[in-house]
């Protein structure tokens, strides 16, 4: 939705001068000009107190008069604060006599006494004639984005004009010599391509222009907006907001109109029809609103403008038809959020922008202002209710489907019937025998783009999924509860608030916190509760919590690895004394403060370079001994055998990084086990000591996914293991793994 949209105008230019051919809605509320910074509330408190003190008089009227005098003349010229401006009546499409005709003279000289004629000529406090002149730019500024701001009104569009000889033809394509051809015109109208700022419309270089020159020199579909208060959003957002509307609406519609004008003189004919109707109505002295609604019947452009306006205001898709060319247009659902300062909750979506691959999978159109979750194989498709007339089934089963498309249509029907929240996209692809990337994803993208489906986390078939409640609801809870009661009158289902309370309380438990254990509790009710979950997911009331795993290297483990390494060094040193000394010095080298403690005073073995480093620090604080050190010396006895094996496998012993800043005995996280450093790999290997071989092998296989970012679903899908196998690993490696439960 674009809450700021005021009107859509069609402006033309001809030898007779510029003209506003049609506009919707018929009467537009005047928006007052205002300053872009809110004026402080004038309640007397804000006045300059020193001034008041120095001008103090017993007559309080003086002060009041001063306040009024200083405020009145500029009062009309101030921004309303966003909260106040919301109170303004937003009924732009009212058909009553517009107030503008009476209380705001649009142009004193040219103003007609007749209020009806005034309706035709007055627009936003200006005459339509004047405004049309401003909206028909110089030829140089045609065929590019147009933007004009007059006080608080924003005019945006993409003016197009005929060639200097009065012919309408496609401009030669500058960037792509290979013409896109006419066959792609439907697609082209849906997916406008912009090459930088230079935009070329149409694909054909050869002259398909209408042979005779037309009176129409230029036409310009203009969207008029109330300039949003710039202080309610972050810098630059307003520009992005208008850019998006321009790209999705103004440019696209203009592209189609231009093409039709070139091919069949469509716009000119429509303008003729509207123009003669307007003259007719003006002569008869009928109201402008009557003309505006009658024009809907004679012109598909007029109809399209109305549908477009209504759809944008109501945040729906616009299905318009221009010269029998169907067109679907919409704005991203979260576009208006750009205009308001972000609430805390919305920060959840910030991270998403960082993920390049996600937006690539969704495509350019869906990447901005849609707030879509990642399109990944382990998520599911949730089909939304659609209007009956737009039901894909109806279209697909319709008789107009060609025979050769029949199989395709049947495939799609099967796809829609297969889609389920309990079935991941990957499973769906294998079930349908479709290719995930070339068949499933495009279908999903189409459904999501047309707001017939959304991507959700896969729900466990037995409802053993862990949910939490969304922090924000779109509607008041009471409304939701009433709807829920209407849809689920069964006595076995508790009211929505109770249900939510139960779900939200379940998160505190360590086990049995999934939906089945906390809510359903009986196998007989699973199918019923499937509907409940489906209902809640549709309304974004549930958030699926996912398991994330991280690997922790404990102090014990590190000491263990360290000791084994030192044992090995020592044994080597037994053969080559000089070699030992060198490597011990190497170790010291990386540690700055080890020099402060002369090595001679400590037995070499008990105080490795690292423990030496720890020593001064510990002496600074309590002097308590760390348990890790104690256990380290115990571990020393039995660890060497295993570790010799491991470290001998490692040919690059020199590169392990002993003594580097990474080599501490503090417990730490391995942030990305998939790209672990040699030392981290040693720690990972040490974790598997004493474990069964099959478990150790599985751990080695899947520990790359334990980076805290992959969800359990993703791990299961990517590693191709079962949930039980994952649980087994988590159990056996409990001491080295941390689990997290949070939204993906």
């Amino acid at each position: 939705m674009a809450e700021t949209l005021l009107a859509i105008l069609l402006v033309t230019s001809s030898a007779k001068g510029p003209n506003v051919v049609y506009r919707w809605p018929p009467s537009v509320e005047n928006t007052r000009p205002r300053l872009s910074r809110p004026r402080p509330p004038v309640d007397g408190l804000e006045l300059d107190n020193p001034w008041r003190a120095s001008h103090y008089s017993d007559n309080s009227n003086d002060l009041a008069a001063h306040i009024e005098g200083s405020v009145d003349d500029i009062d009309d010229y101030a921004w309303r604060r966003p909260t106040e401006s919301r109170d303004r009546p937003m009924s732009f499409s009212r058909s009553a006599i517009p107030a503008s005709g009476h209380d705001s003279p649009c142009n004193n000289e040219r103003r007609e006494i007749d209020p009806v004629a005034n309706e035709y000529q007055c627009l936003f406090d200006y005459t339509a004639q004047f405004l049309a002149g401003m909206l028909c730019p110089q030829r140089h500024l045609c065929h590019q984005k147009f933007e004009l701001v007059i006080d608080n009104l924003v005019f945006a569009g993409h003016p197009v004009c005929a060639e200097p000889d009065g012919m309408w033809r496609f401009k030669p394509e500058r960037y792509k010599p290979g013409s896109r051809g006419r066959g792609s015109r439907h697609r082209e109208s849906n997916l406008p391509e912009r090459n930088g700022s230079e935009v070329s419309l149409g694909g054909e270089t050869h002259s398909t222009a209408t042979p005779k020159s037309s009176w129409l020199h230029m036409f310009h579909l203009v969207l008029v907006f109330d300039l949003p208060d710039p202080s309610s959003s972050a810098s630059g957002n307003v520009a992005r907001y208008f850019d998006t509307i321009y790209e999705q609406i103004a440019f696209t519609v203009t592209a189609v109109l231009f093409q039709e004008q070139v091919l069949s003189n469509f716009v000119e004919l429509e303008c003729d029809a509207i123009g003669s109707l307007e003259t007719e109505y003006m002569v008869k002295g009928e109201r402008f609103s009557d003309f505006a609604s009658h024009a809907q019947r004679v012109s598909s452009i007029a109809t399209a403008m109305k549908i477009l306006y209504d759809a944008i205001k109501s945040s729906n898709m616009a299905h318009i038809t221009l010269n029998d060319l169907p067109l679907e247009l919409q704005l991203p659902p979260y576009l208006d959020h750009l205009l308001h300062s972000e609430e805390e909750f919305e920060l959840e979506f910030v991270g998403r922008l960082q993920n390049q691959t996600d937006s690539q999978l969704w495509g350019r159109e869906l990447s901005f202002g849609w707030r879509l979750p990642a399109l990944v194989p382990w998520k599911s498709l949730l089909l939304l209710d659609t209007d009956q007339e737009l039901d894909p089934y109806v279209n697909l089963r319709g008789s107009h489907v060609h025979a050769e498309e029949r199989s395709l249509a049947e495939g799609l029907i099967k796809f829609l019937e297969t889609a389920s929240v309990t079935l991941s996209l990957a499973d769906m692809a294998s079930l349908l025998d479709w290719d995930l990337h070339s068949q499933v994803y495009p279908t999903v993208r189409w459904l999501v783009h047309h707001r017939r489906a959304k991507i959700v986390d896969t729900v466990h078939n037995g409802l053993k999924t862990i949910f939490s409640i969304a922090p924000k609801f779109d509607k008041p809870l009471a409304t939701l509860a009433a709807e829920f009661k209407r849809d689920f009158p069964q006595p076995s289902i508790s009211p929505l608030p109770t249900l939510m309370a139960t779900i939200s309380n379940s998160n505190s438990k360590q086990a049995d916190n999934h939906f089945f254990a906390t809510v359903v509790q009986s196998k007989d009710l699973i199918s019923l509760y499937h509907e409940v979950v489906f209902w809640m997911l549709k309304r974004d009331l549930l958030i699926t919590l996912h398991l994330h795993v991280r690997v922790v290297t404990t102090a014990e483990l590190k000491v263990h690895v360290r000791q084994a390494h030192e044992r090995k060094l020592e044994r080597l040193a037994g053969h080559h004394l000089r070699g030992r000394r060198r490597s011990s010095r190497r170790g010291d080298h990386g540690v700055g403060d080890a020099h402060e403690y002369p090595r001679v005073s400590m037995p070499w073995l008990s105080l490795s370079p690292k423990t030496a480093r720890r020593y001064p620090r510990r002496s600074m604080d309590s002097g308590q001994s760390k348990p890790s050190d104690v256990s380290g010396s115990i571990l020393l006895e039995d660890a060497e055998d295993v570790f010799d094996e491991i470290s001998e496998e490692d040919s690059g012993e020199e590169n392990v990084g002993w003594g580097s800043s990474e080599d501490t005995l503090e417990p730490s996280m391995i942030s990305d086990p998939g790209t672990a450093s040699p030392l981290e790999r040693k720690w990972l290997a040490a974790m598997s000591e004493g474990k069964d071989e099959y478990i150790a092998r599985r751990f080695a296989l899947i520990n790359q996914y334990f980076d805290g970012k992959r969800t359990d679903d993703e791990i299961l899908y990517t590693a191709e293991i079962s949930r039980k196998q994952l649980r087994e690993v988590l159990h056996h490696y409990e001491e080295y793994l941390q689990t997290f439960l949070h939204p993906a």
Partner: protein, 640 residues
């Protein structure tokens, strides 16, 4: 007040030009700085370029040679101005380059427009640039065409955000219009060449210093400063806790707004807005405005009220933030109490603790389960660190009163009770055990760490807490507060015990524990609260301490109009008369619609969570015990 802002994010002026309606040639550019960037058939450059090479006093010198220099030098920028204008500006040298921004003819109808647009701010655009101007039309019989029309326009990159330049453009036009009206400054051929120097100074100073002061004549000067545009902050709520991001106290100056300086002194990351209003003795609305002002300049942020009954949960951001150095390296030192001999817990340990904060689990429960006391962690700092960094989120309680006709779902309650028996038992039975080290392990624990008796099971705890009368609780709270907290670092101390024998202590302690467990330590002494302010302050909202709040309740007689309320109250009161049994205010009922969380309700009714909890139990007709927050009967509490 404002943080030192770099000017880099302000859009750079590409060009500034002065255009008029020429009698012969129509719209034309008279002067532009830098020169030659805007072309056009009518844009003939005025030959009077010699002005540019003359030093800045030329403006005044041309106009009124007798202007006293003292006036000009009184301007704080005088010296810098002069020097900046004396330096040959780089754009003059570069003007020979062939860079052309756009053709003036393309936009001339927006620069010198028909009369309808005059007096309005007009922004037009070419392919790569945006032009902002304020066309002015001055009628007058002395003009040849009975009017004079001019415009001073600024040119920016197309993508520039011009909101901060709107006031600048308006003001320049306003001052020049005044000059024209007074002395024909613009239309008179003698003085108009000064416009070039003005344009030059606008271009140089606004781009370099974001401010300028250009004296024009004895009465007029252009004084400009560009303020960056910050987004408006969302409305301030009474229950939000402002947290300073800079050292506010160092910034307070004598000439500050009085409310602001009073409010600033109480911003400590603990006090919430309505409490600050009370502490600073300021009107609540003015306090909100002051906080909002600080938020606007992004020198504070808001967090939630810290209470031991709070719940938190991880946000998805944790997956990235847990690897960030500014999170994992700062966390330990920030959240640990600086006690000598204490080792700062490592990040894996801290992260583990964060991961165990869950909705449905109060901070107190969590502390007991994971021995948080032992680690020397300041829990308030621990949670606020997560909130500030953005990986932790407060989970609010949203109570909703179910309609009376809905039968209380017995199946569910039974289930929840049975599950609580199995589920809560680990925590509840371990709770007293978990408490033991908390007291005994402390070096300053009195009586050499007396061990309590055998672990008290859930039933006994429940009974014990039911026996404790509300009055007794109040006494206990008072005692905790009145006892001075010694030591330079008031850490999480054990609740001061009564001067009785250790046996008595144990008994009392177990009761205190059960109380605090259930009521989320209304009376838990905390380390972070300054000794002067009450512990309960974080909960009891306006009243300085709970004793005041307890007194306040009877002073406000409330007639319970709902018959069900009185009935349930009779059932629940069990004869104990105490402030905690104050009847719920009737205004509370309509707010229990699931759209108001308990922080909001607590601030609104100026009570702490234990009192509100009591009210909710009364309203819902529940038993008040059970797992989590207990059984509220017809009131459901959603955590979200």
């Amino acid at each position: 007040m404002m943080p030192s802002e770099g000017d880099t994010f302000l859009p750079r002026i590409q060009s500034v030009f002065y255009a008029v309606f020429d009698l012969q040639k129509g719209p034309k550019i008279v002067y532009q700085v830098p020169e030659g960037l805007i072309t056009g058939s009518t844009a003939n450059q005025n030959s009077n370029h010699s002005v540019t090479s003359s030093p800045s006093p030329s403006i005044a010198a041309i106009l009124e040679p007798d202007v006293t220099p003292s006036r000009r030098s009184s301007s704080s920028h005088g010296g810098r101005r002069a020097s900046s204008l004396n330096v040959p500006s780089p754009h003059q040298r570069s003007s020979s380059s062939s860079r052309v921004l756009f053709n003036f003819d393309d936009i001339s109808k927006y620069v010198i427009p028909p009369g309808e647009l005059c007096g309005r701010l007009v922004i037009c655009a070419t392919r790569k640039y945006r032009i902002i101007g304020f066309p002015v039309l001055l009628p007058g019989n002395h003009y040849q065409r009975n009017y004079f029309q001019y415009n001073v326009c600024f040119v920016f990159e197309r993508s520039a955000d011009l909101s901060c330049y709107e006031p600048i453009v308006r003001k320049v036009s306003r001052v020049l219009t005044a000059c024209e009206e007074e002395s024909f400054f613009l239309s008179c051929p003698k003085s108009s060449p000064a416009m070039h120097a003005i344009l030059e100074q606008l271009y140089e100073d606004l781009n370099s210093y974001s401010e300028t002061s250009i004296p024009i004549d004895a009465f007029n000067s252009i004084e400009l400063k560009i303020f960056p545009f910050y987004p408006n902050s969302p409305p301030v709520k009474d229950w939000q806790v402002p947290l300073a991001l800079i050292n506010l106290s160092k910034r307070i100056e004598d000439n500050w707004d009085l409310t602001m300086s009073k409010v600033c002194r109480h911003i400590d990351g603990v006090n919430h807005v309505s409490r600050i209003a009370h502490l600073a003795d300021c009107d609540i609305e003015l306090t909100r405005q002051a906080i909002s002002h600080l938020l606007y300049y992004q020198v504070i942020m808001t967090v939630d009220i810290f209470q031991y009954s709070n719940m938190y949960t991880l946000r998805k951001n944790v997956q990235w933030l847990a690897d960030e150095c500014h999170v994992k390296d700062e966390c330990g030192p920030y959240v640990t109490k600086h006690t000598p001999g204490r080792v700062v817990p490592d990040w894996p340990k801290l992260l583990h603790l964060y991961s165990r904060l869950k909705s449905g689990k109060t901070v107190l429960d969590w502390m007991e389960t994971y021995d948080v006391y032992e680690l020397g962690i300041d829990v308030r700092r621990f949670t606020s660190f997560g909130v500030i960094k953005g990986f932790l989120r407060r989970v609010h309680r949203w109570p909703i009163l179910l309609p009376a006709d809905v039968p209380s779902p017995t199946r569910r309650r039974k289930q929840s009770l049975s599950s609580s028996a199995s589920n809560a038992s680990p925590t509840s039975s371990s709770a007293p055990i978990g408490e033991i080290p908390r007291f005994s392990g402390r070096p300053d624990a009195s009586g050499g760490a007396p061990m309590p008796g055998p672990p008290i099971n859930q039933m006994e705890v429940t009974r014990a807490q039911q026996r404790t009368s509300a009055a007794e609780k109040v006494l206990e709270q008072l005692r905790f507060k009145t006892l001075p907290r010694a030591g330079p670092n008031p850490t999480m101390r054990q609740p001061p015990l009564s001067p009785e024998g250790p046996e008595r202590n144990n008994e009392r302690r177990s009761r205190v524990l059960s109380d605090t467990r259930r009521h989320s330590t209304y009376q838990q002494p905390t380390s972070h609260v300054p000794p002067s302010s009450s512990v309960a302050g974080s909960q009891s909202i306006v009243h300085r301490n709970s004793s005041e709040s307890q007194i306040a309740f009877p002073a406000r007689p409330r007639l319970s109009r709902s018959p069900s309320t009185s009935r349930t109250r009779a059932l629940n009161s069990q004869g104990s008369s105490g402030p905690m049994n104050a009847p719920p205010p009737p205004e509370l009922l309509p707010l229990l619609d699931g759209d108001h969380h308990t922080d909001e309700l607590c601030t609104r009714f100026e009570v702490g969570w234990p009192q509100l909890q009591q009210w909710l139990v009364t309203i819902g007709g529940g038993k008040g015990d059970g797992d989590g927050d207990g059984d509220f009967g017809r009131v459901s509490i959603i955590y979200r």
